[in-house]
C-alpha cells in the first residue's frame, strides 16, 4: 500500500468508528465458524453493543467477513462480492480455513484460503485496504471481537513473527 492510500485509509477508519456493518460470506466452511459468528451476535457476546451488525449486501458493508477455504465453486461469487464492496475494503478472514486453508489446505476443490485469494485479487486489480487474519478452528466469539478490534486498529496485535535458534 502506498503512503497516500494508507493516509486515506486512516482517514476512512476514523469515519468508520461509529459502527461497522459486516457482510458475512461462507466460502465453503464446515459451518463451525459460522456458528461462532452467530454466537458473537447472541446476547452472551452481543456485538451489536459496539454497533456491529450484519448486513445482507456487500454494497452496504464496511467489512467483508469470510469463513471457509474458498472452494472452487464459490470463488466467482466471492470475487463478485468483494468487487462490489465500496472502499475502504476491509476483510476479516475468520478461522484456520480462511487464514491458510486449514484442514483443507491441499485438497483439489479448494483454493486454500485468503493467501491464494489475495493473489487472485491482485491479479484482477482489486484493492483490499486491510485484512485481519483470525486463527481458530472454530474461532471463539471473543477471538472474533478481538479480530475486529485489530482490524479497526483499536488494539495492537499481540503476535509477531519470531525465529529462534534451537539449543539444548
Amino acid at each position: 500500500m502506498s503512503g497516500d492510500s494508507s493516509k486515506l485509509l486512516a482517514k476512512a477508519l476514523t469515519r468508520l468508528k461509529r459502527s461497522i456493518w459486516v457482510f458475512h460470506l461462507n466460502t465453503g466452511s464446515c459451518n463451525g465458524c459460522d456458528i461462532e459468528v452467530l454466537d458473537a451476535l447472541t446476547p452472551y457476546f452481543d456485538v451489536e453493543r459496539f454497533g456491529i451488525k450484519l448486513v445482507g449486501s456487500p454494497r452496504h458493508a464496511d467489512v467483508f467477513l469470510m469463513t471457509g477455504p474458498v472452494t472452487r465453486e464459490t470463488l466467482p461469487k466471492v470475487l463478485r462480492a468483494i468487487e462490489s464492496m465500496p472502499r475502504p475494503r476491509l476483510i476479516l478472514a475468520l478461522g484456520s480455513c480462511a487464514c491458510g486453508g486449514g484442514i483443507w489446505w491441499d485438497t483439489y476443490s479448494t483454493i486454500g484460503g485468503y493467501g491464494k485469494l489475495k493473489e487472485i485479487l491482485e491479479k484482477r486489480g482489486v484493492v483490499v485496504d486491510r485484512v485481519a487474519y483470525v486463527p481458530g478452528c472454530p474461532v471463539r466469539p471473543e477471538a472474533i471481537i478481538y479480530g475486529v478490534l485489530v482490524l479497526l486498529g483499536a488494539v495492537k496485535q499481540k503476535v509477531k513473527h519470531e525465529e529462534v535458534k534451537a539449543g539444548g
Partner: protein, 169 residues
Amino acid sequence: MSIMKLLSIAARAKVVTRRYPFEPPVVTEGFRGKIEVDPKLCWGCGVCTRICPPNALTLKKREDGTLVLSYFMGRCIFCGMCAEVCPRGAITVTKEFELASLTAEDLVRNVKHDVVRCRICGRVIGPAVEMREATKSVGGAEAKYYDLCPECRKLVVARGIMTKVGVRP
C-alpha cells in the same frame, strides 16, 4: 410472543452479556489455544510435522543448510496432537487465543536447527541437537560413526572388516 411475556423472560434471565474485551474472557480448563515450541527442548526430529493434520508444522531445509521447524498459526486447528506425540515434550498447548494479525507472516514461528554433515561426503545427515543426544544414548563403538551418512558408514565399516581379516580394500 407478547411483549409482556418477553419482558418477564428477560427479567428472569437478567443480564447475560459478557463484558469482554473489558473483562478477562472465560476460558475453560479443556480449552486449547496456540502451541508453544520450546527451542531448548526441541530436537528437530519432525515427528510433530508428520502428525499435524493441516500441515501447520513443517520442517524445511534452507539453502544455508539449516533446518527450520516452522509453525504457521494461521493454519493450526489447535488439536494438540503435536504436543501428544513430541518425544521431547517440547510442545505445550497454551490458552492463548487472541492471535488476530494484520499479516500472515506474523503468524509464523520458526525454530532454527543447525545440521550435522557427513564428515566424508558432506551430505546433511540430520539436526545437530538430535544427533548429539542420540549419540549420547547409544555411546560405545557406535559413537565414532555418528558423523557419517549411511552410505559412507557402510564403506568405512566394510573397510575396517576387510583390514581386520587381511584383505586389502
